[in-house]
């Protein structure tokens, strides 16, 4: 379970202070597929960064699987990000001079998985996201956006994280590929019991989530039931 209690994040900007996330409290159950929606500048990405321990909140606490991640040491944060979180970014952010397989192997190397084991798992994950054959040996520059995002999803799954944080995962993709990627994430959420949190401003994607959280000026609006789904 992932829980945020009165989480606030402020930044210094010029002479003043900007509060990107303002007193957010929420709870996300294991295996839930949640969409965080809001306008540009509403604090969606900042909230995702806080949940992924990429930065610390100014106030409040975040509890992941019973552990307050705001109190972790830098070394423990590296461990948390490496083992419990999988990130998927809008621009894929693959390492350009590594092949698909090597990109997927990367997070496993960071937690000390042996070379042959991580190569085998990387191939399995790439097959799972329907990238097979020579595409597994291609570098990002020779792949389409959709293929790169599949590699990014496979990389996010590499260390079997309990939470996947996806920031506009279909932002650079056409509608058909976008649908495929969201289906993939949704399927993972349901089949693997992985918590998937998608940050998006696309209503179509948000509609496919189990639950939709709406941010406005850093504040979370009252819970909204996603169309066609039960409220958890």
């Amino acid at each position: 379970m992932l829980e945020a209690r009165e989480v606030t994040k402020s930044f210094r900007s010029g002479n003043g202070t900007v509060t990107a996330v303002n007193g957010v409290t929420m709870t996300i159950a294991d295996g839930e597929f949640v969409a965080i929606v809001g306008r540009s500048g509403s604090g969606k990405t900042t909230l995702m960064n806080l949940l992924g321990a990429l930065e610390r909140p100014t106030n409040g606490i975040i509890i992941a699987d019973g552990q307050d991640i705001t109190q972790l040491s830098p070394r423990e944060l590296v461990h948390y990000r490496g083992r419990k979180i999988g990130f998927v970014f809008q621009s894929y952010n693959l390492v350009p001079n590594l092949t698909s397989t090597e990109n997927v192997m990367l997070p496993m190397e960071f937690i000390g998985v042996g070379k042959s084991e991580r190569r085998t798992r990387a191939r399995q994950l790439l097959e799972q996201v329907e990238l097979t054959g020579v595409k597994q040996q291609r570098k990002p520059g020779r792949m389409s956006g959709g293929e790169q995002q599949r590699v990014a999803i496979a990389r996010a799954l590499a260390n079997k994280p309990s939470i996947i944080l996806a920031d506009e995962p279909a932002g650079n993709l056409d509608s058909q590929t976008s649908s495929t990627i969201i289906d993939l994430l949704r399927g993972l959420s349901h089949s693997e019991g992985t918590t998937v949190i998608v940050v998006t401003h696309d209503a179509t994607i948000a509609d496919q989530a189990d639950r939709m959280l709406q941010l406005e000026d850093g504040r979370l609006l009252p819970a909204t039931q996603a169309a066609g789904e039960d409220v958890r």
Partner: protein
Amino acid sequence: MTAVGRGIRNAFRNAVRMISVVVILGLAIGLSIVMLIANHSVAAKVATTLSSIGNAVNIGLPGYSTGMQLGKHLTTAELAPIAHFHGVTSIDEILSGSADPLGKRQNATSSASARTSLRPVNLSPVLYFSGSTQPTNPVSIGASTLRIVNGHVISGTSLADAAMVSTAMARKNGLKVGSTFTAYGKTLTVAAIFDSDNQTGNDTVVISLPVLERLTGDTGQVSSAVVTVASLSELAATTSAIEHALGPVASVTSNLAEASQALGDLDGVKSIALYSLTGAVGAAVIILFLVMVMIVRERKREIGILKAIGASNGRIMAQFTTEAATFTLLGLVAGLIAGIVTGSAVTAALVSHSGASSATGSAGLSGAPSPFLGHLTDVSAQVGWGVILEALTAAVVVALLASAATTWMIGRIQPAEAVRSE
């Protein structure tokens, strides 16, 4: 692939940049190696020269070389106190004499007794006789080496009419050990045959000091003396003490004094090489530092992403340090090739443009160029394992120093910044 593997691969990520960096680094490292070679070569030459100088102080008559004092001598009584000076281990007292060789038309001043049955080796007008208390001292025959090749060394205090002649003179006069010849009206027996590195030495007959004193009638007198001092470090002080004790009656010099100007100039070359070496290594550090700063800034987002997916600072730093080390290693190879190819020429140019070349022509005690300074400018470039090891050490220092700031920058990159910059 490990962090090290990625670091190596990243060094080749951009071929144009890699070649540019390696060429620039290669030039800086090459210059470092050239200067290292020059420094080592000159240092070796200075050390060799110092060791060849020996711990000797030469005592002669003032103006001897110009002939002003011919016929005058120092006395053994004047030299006696020197044996007790601090640092003095021995004194070789030398009396020089000359005799007209066989078949030479006698001039008006030559006495009938100052003749010899020997013929000179090199059409010399006279044959020299050296009476020495240490007959194997090459200085007594104006040479830098004297090696016995046959027979037994005579004693410097012996009263026996025995002599040592050079191989060339023995051949010219059909002498061997045990042969006899006449000089100053006496018959002398050849006790030993020697080799020397000097033409004058080959035309000099070596006998003991008491015998030459008796033959020439100059009892208790010496032409010159060579004082041996315990160590090179005591040479200057002992020279000064002897000079003070003998006053104006003698000219006191050490080879160190003769060599100091030339060696000082070589030390100047060493200093220039050392400063240039430091500058070149500094330039290499700055070049690599700027390149790595550029690379880190360029890959800031990638570093942030690596941190976001679980990489520790240490692992990312290892990757970038390896990349810097790869550049340095390639630069080192290029620099070594450039350095080894040009090292000899640059060293020769540095030495020839220093004052050492003019100093080697300075006159020694006898007016001739000092034998140990003759080849002072003949400095051969020395590219040994020492140079390569020091270059490798310098390269490691370059890589580490350039990486230090880079790793500091990496440590400060926040993964959230990279993600936010999308």
